[in-house]
Amino acid sequence: MTRAFADLHLRVNPKDQQATQRLINRAAKFGYRLISIPFTSALREDEIAKLKATCSEAGLDFVSRADFHPRTENELTHFLRKFRRRFEIICITCDNKEVARQAAKDRRVDLLSFPSLDYRKRFFDRAEAELASNCLAALEVDVKPLLILEGPPRVRLLASLRREVAIAREFGVPLIVSSGVAEERFMRLPRDMASLAFLFGLDEASALDSVSTNPAAIVKRNREKLSSRFVAPGISIIKEGKAP
């Protein structure tokens, strides 16, 4: 069975239509099936609809995603209350430990992301992994820093990633490898992106899953939940009867 590859983190500004179009075309050429461009809290339904149409023309499935960088737990819960039902993917960038713990134990969070450049702010430890595994949150790793960093910063990042990936695997936390790129020249083929996961200790099958099966499973699960027919996990409306 052929894999449906996904890149859930193309960091292009959706307002820059030319750049967005170029990135979408390139993703289609590279064989991706699912792509996502993150929105901040300033939601524009028409922009999302336009992107969906553009992606559909290129043969891609667009996934709506919101990224948030909360400073406090309250900010996080407020954001989730407001935006969870409007986006298919919610990613929280955790800048401090309180937010990281809250994000990991909140079932409305899909992806946990940590700053690449400051390794002291990477809070994905065993406690975080345990919370995340109970709430089906996944750990997102962007490959762009691996392409642009050199020397000691890249060494530190690789060491952190290797430790985090080992913890994630121990606790069964799904891993998502995304590009995190804004420029075409840093985009890579899905299998090349998976090969970068080799650098932080993933075997070939797990690396390929992290760019295909794992992101696709999250999208599928959330689309079911956001569907009007969803009642509870495992229960959905098949047919509605007429009122007597």
Partner: protein
């Protein structure tokens, strides 16, 4: 003595202008050395077999045990000969015949 197993990789270069063979292989060696050091690079058995300037497709040979290392290193190439570039792996094969059949 045990036979060394090898793999052939077809690489698509995405760059402005036309890099020379020397610039290409230097960029690949530099990426491997930067990631794995000189000892790691010495294990790869990396050799440039062919470089089609017209299609910007190169073929390199690597040792099977170092295939993962080389693929990861190739993905980190961002410039060739001082120009912005990317190296994409089009196909991997155990024989040149199969590789050319796959990439044509």
């Amino acid at each position: 003595m045990k036979r060394i197993k090898r793999r052939y990789l077809a690489l698509q270069l995405e760059c402005e202008g036309l890099p020379t063979e020397r610039e290409l292989i230097d960029a690949i060696w530099a990426a491997v050395t930067k990631l794995y050091g000189e000892v790691g690079a010495s294990l790869t058995g990396l050799t440039l077999i062919d470089f089609d300037l017209e299609r910007k497709v190169a073929v390199v040979r690597v040792s099977l045990v170092a295939l993962g290392m080389v693929r990861a290193s190739l993905a980190t190439v961002t410039s060739i000969g001082g120009r912005e570039a990317a190296v994409l792996v089009l196909a991997v094969s155990g024989t040149l015949k199969a590789l050319y059949a796959n990439t044509r």
